[in-house]
C-alpha cells in the first residue's frame, strides 16, 4: 500500500520518535543535567536513546540504591529535581530504599522504571514486579504509562508534582513496548490537575494573629525544620528572627536554614540536640514551628511536651503535618517562604511592640543553660575522640564544605560539631535513617558542585552498605573525602545496648573489617589510616590540600570505641529529661 502524505494532516507531517526518544526529550525539556541509573532489559530502548544524546550526563552507579541516593542528594544540594533510571523487577526493588529515604525527607525526585511489555503485565513475566504497587506507600505519586500518547503529559506532571507543594519522589513506570512505539512529540507548556492545587499563600488573619502572639510573648521560641531548606526560605527566616530578636533552634533536617554560628541560634534540638535548645523549647510560652513536623526524635514524648502550657503557631505547606502529633493553636498553611515574607512585611508595617523586658530576661535564662556547656568534650592523648575529627574537619574546610553523613553516632557528632551557616550544605537521611546513603550522597553533591569540598562523614558499618560506589567515584573522578569514624562498633546500637540493655552488645561489634586503605587503593583511590590524636588535623589538611584536590581520599580514623553521643533523650522521655553524660 502506498502512503500518500497529506500536507494538512499534522499527524502525518510531524516527525516521529520512539517512546524512548520522547522520554529523553521530556528530560531535555526539564533541563535535567544528570540521570543516575543502571541499565537492564526493560530499559534498553531508553539506554539506546541516551547513547544518542549529549544534553544530560548519565551516571552509571554500581547498585540502583545508590542511583536513588545520588539523585536525592543532587536535589538536596541544588534544590532541583533529581532523576534516576532503573530497570524492571530487581532494578526497581533495589531502588525502593532510596525512594523511601527521599520520601521521608520530602525530596523532589523523578524515578523512571522500566516495566515488562504491556501485553505481558500480570503474567509473572521475567523481571516483572508490581513497581507501582510496591512503591505506592513511599512516593508522593506514581504513574504506569499504558499509552504512548501519555508519555509527555505524564512526565510533565511527574516533575510538577515532585517539585511543588510538599515535594517528594514521583515514579513513572514505562513498559518496554511503549518505549519502542512511534509517535510525535510535543511537550505540554502547563500542567492542569483538578485534583492537585497546593496552597502557597498563608491566611493573612492567621499571620496577624501569629505576630501578635510573638510580640506579646514572654518566652518566645522559633523551631525550624527541613521545610525552610526545601522551601528556599533561609533569607526570609533570618530576617524574621533578627528583626524580632528571637532565639531559634532547628531540627537535624533544617540545619543551615539559619546561621548556626549566630548567637540567636541554640543549635539543634531533639534526641541528641543541645541542652539549651531542648530546655528552651520545653519552657517557652509561645513556640513558632516553621516547616517542621513535631516528629518523635524531635519533641520526644508528646504528653510530656504538652505538660507545659504554651501557645503553638505552625507554618507548613502540608495541612496533614499540622495537629498530627501535637495540637496547634494557630495553624498557617502555606509555603514557608511566602508566609515568612508576609510576616516580615507585617513586622515592617506594624512595628509591633514587643515585651522587651521579658524577652531580655528569657535570653538571660537561655544563656544560663548555654553556659552549662554540655556540648563540650575532652580531648584524649592516646585515643582519637570522634568529636575531635569533626572539629578539625570544620577548621580545615573553614566551615564551608558540603557534608554528607551516614547514620549513627558519627551523624550526630557531624551535626553537633560542624555548625552550618548555609542551607543545603548538610545532607543526611533524617527521616528514614538509611545507613549507606553517605557515599552516594557525596557523589550527587560533588557532581552538582564540581569545585566544592565534599566530605562524607561515615562509620565503618554504614560505609560498607554502599562501598561499591567507590568504583563509580573512580569512573567519574569524584574527589570526595571519606571521613570514617571507625570505632569497630555499630556505635549507635552499642550505645543503646550500653544504656538500656546492661552492656549486652548483641551483634553490634563489627568483626572482620576490611583493610580500608587497601580497599580504597584497589579502587584507585588514596587511603589513610589515622590512629594518633596528634595526627588528626595534619591528615585532614593533607587530604584537603591542593595536591590531592582531584583525588578521593578514604580516611580511616581509628576512634575511641567507648564514646557516646550526649545529650540524649531516652526513648519515650520528654525534652527536659536529657541524659547529659555529665551527671555525677
Amino acid at each position: 500500500m502506498t502512503q500518500v502524505s497529506n500536507p494538512n494532516d499534522k499527524q502525518e507531517t510531524s516527525p516521529q520518535f520512539t517512546g524512548a526518544e520522547i522520554l529523553i526529550k521530556c528530560l531535555h525539556e526539564e533541563k535535567v543535567e544528570f540521570v543516575f541509573g543502571y541499565p537492564g532489559g526493560a530499559v534498553l530502548n531508553i539506554y539506546d536513546a541516551i547513547y544518542q544524546q549529549d544534553k544530560f550526563k548519565h551516571i552509571l552507579v554500581r547498585h540502583e540504591q545508590a542511583a536513588l541516593h545520588a539523585a536525592d542528594a543532587y536535589s538536596r544540594s541544588t534544590g532541583k529535581v533529581g532523576v534516576a533510571l532503573v530497570t524492571s523487577g530487581p532494578g526497581a526493588t533495589n531502588a525502593v530504599t532510596g525512594i523511601a529515604t527521599a520520601y521521608m525527607d520530602s525530596i523532589p525526585i523523578v524515578v523512571i522504571s522500566g516495566q515488562v511489555p504491556t501485553y505481558a503485565i500480570g503474567e509473572d513475566a521475567f523481571q516483572e514486579c508490581d513497581t507501582v504497587g510496591i512503591t505506592r506507600p513511599c512516593v508522593k505519586h506514581n504513574f504506569l504509562i499504558k499509552d504512548i500518547n501519555d508519555i509527555a503529559s505524564v512526565m510533565k506532571k511527574a516533575f510538577h508534582v515532585a517539585s511543588t507543594g510538599r515535594p517528594g519522589p514521583v515514579l513513572v513506570d514505562i513498559p518496554k513496548d511503549i518505549t519502542a512505539t512511534l509517535n510525535s512529540f510535543e511537550y505540554p507548556k502547563t500542567v492542569e490537575m483538578r485534583s492537585y492545587n497546593p496552597i502557597t499563600k498563608g491566611h493573612s488573619g492567621q499571620i496577624k494573629k501569629a505576630l501578635k502572639l510573638l510580640a506579646e510573648a514572654k518566652r518566645p521560641m522559633v523551631y525550624t525544620g527541613g521545610g525552610v531548606v526545601l522551601g528556599n526560605a533561609a533569607a526570609e527566616l533570618t530576617q524574621f528572627i533578627q528583626s524580632l530578636g528571637l532565639p531559634t533552634t532547628s531540627t537535624l533536617m533544617g540545619l543551615g536554614g539559619y546561621p548556626a554560628t549566630d548567637k540567636q541560634s541554640l543549635g539543634w534540638l531533639g534526641m541528641h540536640g543541645t541542652y539549651e535548645a531542648n530546655m528552651a523549647v520545653q519552657e517557652c510560652d509561645v513556640l513558632i514551628a516553621v516547616g517542621a513536623r513535631f516528629d518523635d526524635r524531635v519533641i520526644g514524648n508528646p504528653e510530656h511536651f504538652l505538660s507545659r502550657p504554651r501557645t503553638i503557631i505552625h507554618i507548613d505547606i502540608d495541612p496533614s503535618s499540622i495537629s498530627k502529633r501535637v495540637r496547634i493553636d494557630v495553624p498557617i498553611v502555606g509555603d514557608v517562604k511566602s508566609v515568612l515574607a508576609d510576616l516580615n512585611d507585617l513586622i515592617k508595617s506594624e512595628k509591633p511592640v514587643q515585651n522587651t523586658a521579658a524577652l531580655a530576661e528569657w535570653m538571660l535564662q537561655i544563656e544560663v543553660w548555654r553556659a552549662k556547656k554540655f556540648s563540650e568534650f575532652t580531648l584524649d592523648e592516646k585515643l582519637i575522640k570522634p568529636q575531635q575529627v569533626i572539629k578539625s574537619l570544620y577548621e580545615v574546610t573553614k566551615g564551608d564544605a558540603f557534608i554528607t553523613s551516614d547514620v549513627g553516632q558519627h551523624q550526630m557528632w557531624a551535626a553537633q560539631y560542624y555548625p552550618f551557616d548555609k542551607p543545603r550544605r548538610w545532607i543526611n537521611s533524617g527521616g528514614l535513617g538509611t545507613m549507606g546513603v553517605g557515599l552516594p550522597y557525596a557523589m550527587g553533591v560533588q557532581l552538582a558542585h564540581p569545585d566544592a569540598q565534599v566530605a562524607c562523614v561515615t562509620g565503618e558499618a554504614s560505609i560498607q552498605m554502599c562501598i561499591q560506589e567507590l568504583s563509580t567515584c573512580k569512573q567519574y573522578e569524584l574527589p570526595i573525602k571519606v571521613i570514617t569514624l571507625n570505632n569497630r562498633y555499630m556505635g549507635m546500637v552499642r550505645q543503646w545496648q550500653e544504656f538500656f540493655y546492661e552492656n549486652r552488645y548483641s551483634e553490634s561489634y563489627m568483626d572482620a573489617l576490611p583493610d580500608f586503605i587497601k580497599l580504597a587503593e584497589s579502587y584507585g583511590h588514596i587511603g589513610m589510616r589515622i590512629t594518633d590524636p596528634a595526627d588528626v588535623e595534619g591528615a585532614l589538611r593533607e587530604a584537603f590540600s591542593p595536591k590531592l584536590k582531584d583525588r578521593l581520599v578514604f580516611m580511616d580514623f581509628i576512634t575511641d570505641q567507648s564514646e557516646n553521643v550526649f545529650p540524649m533523650i531516652p526513648n519515650g522521655k520528654g525534652l527536659s529529661e536529657m541524659i547529659t553524660g555529665k551527671e555525677s
Binding site: 485534583s195 496533614s320 495537629s323
Partner: protein, 163 residues
Amino acid sequence: MRHIISILMENEPGALSRVAGLFSARGYNIESLTVATTEDATLSRMTIVTSASDAVIEQIIKQLNKLIDVVKVLDLNDGKHIERELMLIKVRASAAHRDEMKRMCDIFRGRIIDVADGSFTIELTGSGHKLDAFIESLDTSAILETVRTGASGIGRGDRILKL
C-alpha cells in the same frame, strides 16, 4: 465516633488501592467502603465508613486530600445526611414457613426478588441498623446467605459534593 466520608476521585486504575493503602498503612479502620463511577465517567465516588476520635478523623480527611488522585473529600457527619445500604439475603422458605417469611419481609419493606423451591431471596435497603434488625429478627438457621454493599451516603438538601 462513626463517620461517613465521601470522596470524589479520578477514575484511574489504582486510585482505589491508594485509598485502601492509606487506611492500612496509617492504621485507620474501615467499616465499609463502596465505590463506583459517577455520571461523569472520569470521576469515581467512594463512601468510607470509619470510626475514630475527632483528631484521627481530621488526619484521615487531610491525608485523603493529600492523595494526588483525590479531587474532593467531604465528611458527611459535618452536616445533615442520608445513609443507605443494600442487602441481598437468601432465606430458608419451606412450605410451612413461606407466609411468615413473606410477612417479615413486608414489615421491613423488603422485596422478594427470587423464589426457589425452599428459599426466597430478599432485597432490603435502609440504614445499617435496619439491616441488622432484620437479620436479628430471623432465626439464624433460616439465613442461608447474606451480602451487603456497605453504606452509601449523601448530604441533605443543598449539601452537594460535586466538582
